[in-house]
């Protein structure tokens, strides 16, 4: 069909105006339709109680025994999965599935008495057999991460004495073992669900797993078979945000009830209205470590490491990088650990001393170090701050930002770096410094020996020896502990029952409530 140029038929003059009118109608109709929808929905009686929690670190899998990373236990530990013992808000070990437990005189045999009431979400009892099955699975180690199997390594045997009593015999005494049993390694799985743990977590916590929509949310629902005091919350959504600012605006616009951890502390002021929001400020186990590669001969020199420690004004760093919200710690110990001592004054900011130490070490004319950091919220800003400060004492720092997966490959695995910054969020992870194969390549037999003795000693000996070990690390400037990540939780005024301190890997919702 050809349009012919010949047939000119003047159009009525009204025609275009009609078109304009039609267009305006279309736009107006759209606007009206939308305003009609914008009426706020008032929550009516009998509607389910839903908690929306904003979070940033999405799980990389659902089975805490086959994947590492903090995202998985953050959602599942204590909420969906339970352990024999748990860590309370002060960092102490408390009974959970075990009503109580006793330890033999030689600290090698643990007897756990289970609470006969405990049940899995599938309504089967949490009995001694379930404990033995769960522990044996870890001991066998098939497909289980080293991280988890290494925590079960001290165990010699696990046996059920009767349906409610479990006896665990250790090869040698280990204080750390009992503590670790409060974490992912100590989870008691529902034996009926072992084959599908990677898609359907099966535990005995106050919530049951419902759904994981990758890149969006993990949904939990109330476990109606829960043996403890049940929660009044019907559904929980952990919603994941790649952009922390999007999470903050979601909170401000009323779409979230809780921000599980504010990763932009500078934005804290936005939630300053006490009539609307509650700000929970506490401590975590996350030590932000400026790690040294001890395989580098320059950094193997104690004087160089000390010079760097003297050359960084950590309080100014926290003020500039993390809104002044991080605590200075000075070693690899969190304040909720029984052996915490403030070691942050070991190397107070002193550029003169730093320059003198570098001179003694033979670097009067300066030295150059590569600081390769992952692109996690705290690392690049801290790296730039450190580069600027160390320049003043004659250390040229070449900052390189790597996407996290690349960082894992090149820095963590291949050890291709001089210095790096990463937060170590595991509770009681000071033992990493006792492993010369760990990516810092810190090899100090005296320190490793202290850690071992502390692990095997009595409770009192453990505290004394761990204090000694932490001080040894600090004096040896094995790293530079920049600051401790704060626990910054924002909730709406209606939400209550969250712990002040993050003492475990769990975002514990056991006692959460909302009076909305």
């Amino acid at each position: 069909m050809l349009s012919t140029m010949g047939e000119f038929r003047p159009m009525e003059a009204r025609r275009p105006r009609r078109l304009v009118a039609a267009w305006l109608c279309l736009m107006a109709a759209g606007a009206v339709a939308l305003t009609a929808c914008t009426r706020p929905e008032a929550p009516s009686q009998g509607e389910p109680v839903i908690l929306n929690i904003g979070a940033t670190g999405e799980p990389v899998g659902l089975d805490p025994s086959t994947v590492n990373g903090a995202g998985t236990p953050f959602v599942l530990l204590y909420n969906v999965y339970e352990t024999l013992v748990r860590i309370d808000g002060e960092g102490a070990i408390r009974p959970l599935l075990a009503r109580d437990y006793s330890v033999s005189d030689d600290n090698k045999v643990y007897t756990f008495n289970l609470d006969g009431l405990a049940k899995f979400a599938s309504n089967t009892p949490v009995d001694a057999e379930a404990v033995v099955t769960s522990f044996d699975r870890i001991l066998k180690g098939d497909g289980i991460t080293d991280q988890v199997t290494s925590k079960m390594a001290p165990v010699d045997s696990v046996k059920a004495l009767d349906s409610d009593t479990v006896e665990v015999t250790l090869k040698q005494p280990s204080n750390q073992w009992l503590f670790d049993m409060a974490g992912p390694a100590g989870i008691i799985y529902d034996p009926a669900g072992l084959d599908t743990l990677d898609t359907k977590p099966a535990g005995s916590g106050p919530f049951a797993f419902a759904e994981w929509e990758t890149g969006q949310f993990v949904k939990l629902v109330r476990n109606d078979h829960y043996w403890g005091t049940g929660t009044r919350v019907d559904e929980v959504f952990f919603r994941y945000y790649a952009d922390p600012n999007a999470m903050n605006t979601a909170m401000l616009s009323g779409q979230l009830d809780i921000i599980s951890n504010l990763t932009v502390p500078q934005a804290l002021d936005q939630f300053g209205d006490p009539d609307k929001y509650t700000v929970i400020e506490g401590t975590t186990d996350g030590e932000v470590v400026l790690g040294f590669n001890h395989d580098n001969p320059q950094l193997a020199d104690l004087k160089v490491r000390q010079a760097i420690n003297y050359g960084i004004d950590r309080q100014a760093l926290v003020d500039s990088v993390w809104g002044g919200k991080g605590m200075l710690i000075g070693s690899m110990v969190a304040p909720t650990d029984p052996w915490f001592e403030d070691l942050s004054k070991t190397y107070t900011f002193d550029q003169e001393k730093a320059r003198a130490l570098l001179k003694e070490a033979g670097f009067e004319s300066g030295l150059t170090l590569r600081l390769r950091v992952p692109t996690l919220p705290y690392a690049p800003p801290a790296a730039r701050f450190i580069a600027a400060q160390l320049k003043e004492i004659g250390v040229t720092v070449q900052v390189e930002e790597l996407e996290f997966a690349r960082w894992l490959s090149e820095v963590y695995t291949a050890g291709d770096y001089d210095m790096t910054i990463v937060a170590h969020v595991e509770p009681r992870d000071i033992g990493n410094f006792a492993n010369p194969d760990y990516y810092w390549h810190y090899d100090n037999p005296a320190f490793a020996d202290l850690i071992k003795k502390a692990d095997e000693g009595s409770a009192q000996e453990q505290v004394t020896l761990m204090k000694e070990a932490a001080k040894m690390l600090a004096d040896d400037a094995a790293a530079d502990w920049l600051f401790l990540l704060p626990n910054l939780v924002i909730t709406t005024k209606e939400v209550s029952g969250l712990e002040q301190n993050a003492t475990s890997l769990s975002f514990d919702l056991t006692s959460v409530a909302t009076n909305r």
Binding site: T199, R239, T249, S253, Q255, T413
Partner: protein, 319 residues
Amino acid sequence: MTLRTVGLRLAGLVVSLLVASLLIFLATNALPGDVAQVILGTNASPGEVEALRQRLGLDRPLSVRYVEWVTGVVRGDFGTSMITGRDVVSQIAPRLEVSLWLVGLAMVLAILISLPLGAFAAVRRRHASGFVASAIAQIGLSIPAFWAGIWLVVIFAVTLRWLPAGNYVSYWDSLGQWALHLVLPVTALAVVQASILARYVRSAIIDVLGEDWFRTARSVGWSTWGALLRHGSRNVAISLLTVIGLQLSTLLVGAIIIEQVFALPGLGSRLLLAVGQRDLVVVQGIVLLLVWAVLVINFVVDVIYQFVDPRLRRVGTNR
């Protein structure tokens, strides 16, 4: 367009896809770091990572994995995510839907805004009002979409609380909520698109206004607007179609930033997550889908050309 040319174009499409699949596969596998390391994180030993890599089949040669992937895709099996253990198609499909709504609605809104704006700016180009219309388009063009998005959130979600700040609700769950959740992101995307389109509309109409036949049409009694609508619209449509085709492709990928700002579960944010986790099977699937979409859009635009522009059609049929 004859059956033969359609056939040739389709064959070209298949070859392009095959070449693209190889390039995508090589490029994603050249990324440093892998999914085994991401899964095991900062507590892993090298031996452990190697063992997981073997279990995931990542230790096999590239060629074997490529053939396995491509033959799977041909059968409609895009593989299984190494992070979630679920098949890729079931994870991409809902994402694609969100992206298509976002991009499609933004494009429709952009066209609805740009046509009158551009036409007005062209016809009234020698008047102050036309200049203002051009200036509005110019300003819209220089606003980054994410910045527009942040301001829309601050005004309409945080301050006025009229609209949600983000997330997505399926229209199966609630049609009203679905629409509400899309208003801000669609607007943010459309603002920039409308400005780009308006400039093309304006220059295309200015061209038309200078044509001899247009002057003739005016001389026999058509009004400017009447002549434009009756005889100019096809000429404008051709150049507009080209731009829309190009913009749709960039929009599909470009929406990634808007998806972050509004926490929308679209293709772009899923791609970003998968790249960060080195979940290569998912990355490959999404990128291949995007390449396919771009090729199909170009194909469709070519076909539409034939209908809009009779001159092209004649060349095809008279052979």
